[in-house]
Amino acid sequence: MSWAAHDLEPYAFQKHLGAKIAFVPLLLGSYAPDQFSKWFVYGIHLGPWDLKANDPVQFHRGWPGLGFTHSLTFGVLVGLLIWGLFGSRIWGISFMIGHAAHVITDAGDTVGTMWFFPWTHHFSIGAWAYAGQTGRFTDAAAYFSGLGGMWDLFWILYGLLSWRVITRDYFNTVVYNADAFWPWLNKRLPKEALLVLYRGAFFYGCCQWLAWSIWAHVYHHYPYDLHWGGPHWVHAAHPND
């Protein structure tokens, strides 16, 4: 499971692909796999009901479960659907790229993702512990204590070094002109507001990383463990657990 990387990677693609992609579907693709599953992995309280998956790992990444949302085939299928339904090639392809980034990034943990579903083999490099089954707060503490947090930090630094991608000039000349969505939204909101929205995921990703790191290491004193597959103070889930 990754946290801020999914907010920040789209800006790196934006930098390298420029006007060949559209930022909004790129970001939607990057967020899509977790949109329907993460709340149920951690569980929520709805009045008297506690809703939580019996087997969060299986539900999130496995089959049977919603693990197919973390496959490259699912991203291609949804991208083609977007292309066909809305007649927008750039939206379809941008969604596929954002989605693929999420799927490949999540292969960094100990559970991994089924890249080529319906083939149910999990691709995993096991660099950081998957701890979604422990609940949101322990998962956050574990993620921001291991190599997952460092992976996010890499994207923050990469984004800061490539800072021109979030400037007004870049937005006006590249992002705005690449996608008809922005001129459409510009009929309702001024460009100044659109620029703030465009910067939103970068702002959120950086803040999320900082807030959880401070919460885990200053407020709660969870120990860092940057060993491969760590932190080892948490139970790391694996595909066949």
Binding site: R136, A140, V196, A201, F203, Y204, Q208, A211, W212, W215
Partner: protein, 67 residues
């Protein structure tokens, strides 16, 4: 000299630094809220709403009221 030239081209100007400072200030508030209560930083939509409100809605309203 080549390194200096690249650095000079890369470095932000004063106006860009001012914008960066403004976002850092807003980030400091949002991160503080997030540390106090983790639920402020669990959803992208919270972050986007916070930024939209503090970086655009409130300054725009303020400018209109004080014009």
């Amino acid at each position: 000299m080549a390194v200096l030239h690249v650095l000079r081209k890369w470095a932000p100007n004063r106006a860009e630094l001012r914008t960066f400072g403004k976002y850092c200030f807003l980030a400091a508030i949002y991160v503080t809220l997030g540390v106090i209560n983790g639920f402020f930083v669990v959803a992208f939509w919270f972050g986007l709403a916070f930024l939209f409100l503090t970086a655009w809605v409130i300054p725009t309203l303020w400018r209109r009221l004080t014009r």
